[in-house]
Amino acid sequence: MTIQLIAFYLFASLAVLSGAVTILARNPVHSVLWLILAFFNAAGLMVLAGAEFIAMLLVIVYVGAVAVLFLFVVMMLDIDFAELRAGFIRNAPVGALIAVVLFGELLIGVGAYRAGALVLGTPDGSAATPAGVSNIEAIGALLYGRYLFLFEAAGVILLVAMIGAIVLTHRQRSDTRGQNVSRQVERRPDEATVNMQPEVGQGVSL
């Protein structure tokens, strides 16, 4: 039990710490790297909660794909820190407004927590994963059974977003020549080279 306890406090404190440093770090690349550490610790907490499938997905999707793209973009940004600081005074009122709203939400959240949990049903253990069924099977049965249509709808929305992103950024370029691999492979020596014997001063047409 002690090992789990130590692991929980390690992951939890590191998650909070790296989350804080993410917004405090001056260099955006450092911010992304701290964010990745936060994702990691969140995954560690998921493992401790017995949701190892979610933990692995968190690492694969967020750390392995999303954060790499973040890093990719942020690395190529040419950030002028002086210019960023110049906008500080101008944007301060908007920032303060957002801070006030967030603080208000935090207060409401604490109030709701103190008022007691929502009554969603009695915890009789009927919703728990039965023993012997693995995490993946339990989630799969729910996603492809009870919530099939919602799951499919989420997939369709993602597909639309993906196509939209491609359509928005795609442009047809006529000035570049692409490579047609199958045409190159199909070429034979006898059709690729022609033996010519041009008259003097005539030249050949290509």
């Binding site: 990745i36 190892e52 692995m56 392995g64 794909a65 790499v68 890093l71 990719f72 490579q179």
Partner: protein, 347 residues
């Protein structure tokens, strides 16, 4: 192993901790020794294919060459470029090296010999292998130098591209085995076709193995996909500014990653620790030996390809990943699941 430590009179917590540490050392130390020897083997194979002798001075047949190189690198000065981002510059090789060792935790060496027998073993391998890109990208950025940066850009694009098709290939295997646990996947391959142990004998999965082998080469940045360190264009890629031990860590990590890919090939498609044929006599040889033989066989293929195939051009690499492997592997997921559905495999 926990039982053994418990039999010595330790409480479960302590026995578990000691057993885990012992298991980590039992994997990591032979792996490091193996990496040293496999670098020597790689150079020897490469030399033989180019009709050269290869390393043959240090020790008998040059066997101690890697250790001499290691010692040399250890004694060199670590140079940190003045414009580099110091912290990240030093962390990057450590990330590469650590990640290369992490994934070995779930590889089954024998039916009982597995450090972490987890249900999501294959997903864990995917998660860890997707981290490999950070060592390269951070190195490229923190070096604050042109060529490493280009290399980092290439590396991140390349690794993301091939991970997608590797994911779909693995789904085919998982569908057939019915589990993400690597041990269960190995057990599912027992006399898969007639008396042959291994998914590779299955005509539906054989093309997936070929694609997995090629994607593995791209994922580990080995020739012919070693665009991240293409010396004719990028000097030495992301390693350009590295010297001494930080350079050696990349070296070791790269080869540990290659060995891991070989081990995954063996485990997922060639029956892992099972003998190639399901004949009782062959089970007398321990599973570790079979797995090692398979790993060495795949490493020979990797070396062979490195010695004989010219480097891909960058746009060809991207084309192969996105326009060939991705559609084919996606189609194969439909094919395999459709076949398994029709034959009532899931019933």
């Amino acid at each position: 192993m926990t039982d053994f430590f418990q039999s010595l009179g330790l409480s479960y917590d302590w026995a578990w901790s000691l057993a885990t540490i012992a298991g980590i050392l039992l994997i990591a130390l032979p792996l490091m020794l193996g990496v040293a020897m496999i670098i020597y083997a790689d150079r020897k194979i490469w030399a033989a294919m180019a009709l050269r002798r290869g390393p043959n001075v240090v020790g008998p047949w040059g066997l101690l060459q890697s250790f001499a190189d290691g010692l040399k690198v250890f004694l060199q000065e670590t140079i940190i470029p003045s414009a580099a981002n110091k912290g990240l510059f030093l962390i990057a090789p450590i990330i590469t090296f650590t990640v290369a060792l992490l994934a070995w935790a779930v590889i089954p060496f024998n039916s009982g010999a597995i450090l972490a027998d987890i249900n999501v073993g294959l997903l864990y391998v995917l998660a860890i292998s997707s981290l490999g890109v950070y060592g390269t990208v951070i190195a490229g950025w923190s070096s604050n130098s042109k060529y490493p940066f280009f290399s980092a850009m290439r590396a991140s694009a390349q690794m993301i591209s091939y991970e997608v098709s590797i994911g779909f290939i693995l789904i085919c295997v998982v569908l057939w085995a019915g589990s993400f646990n690597l041990k269960d996947i190995v057990e599912a391959q027992q006399s898969h076709v007639w008396i042959i142990n291994g998914f590779v004998a299955n005509p539906l999965l054989f093309p997936m193995w070929v694609m997995f082998l090629i994607s593995g080469m791209a994922e580990t940045g080995r020739a012919p996909f070693d665009l991240t360190e293409a010396e004719s264009e990028l000097v030495a890629g992301y390693q350009t500014e590295y010297s001494s031990m930080s350079f050696a860590l990349y070296w070791l990590g790269e080869y540990a990653n290659v060995l891991l890919m070989c081990a995954l090939n063996a485990t997922l498609f060639w029956g892992g620790y099972l003998p190639p044929l399901d004949i009782p006599v062959l089970y007398l040889i321990p599973g570790v030996v079979w797995l090692l033989l398979k790993i060495l066989f795949f490493f020979f293929i990797f070396s062979w390809v490195k010695a004989t195939v010219p480097r891909y051009r960058y746009d060809q690499l991207m084309r192969l990943g996105w326009k060939v492997f991705l559609p084919v592997s996606l189609f194969w997921v439909f094919l395999v699941s459709g076949y398994l559905m029709l034959t009532g495999h899931f019933a």
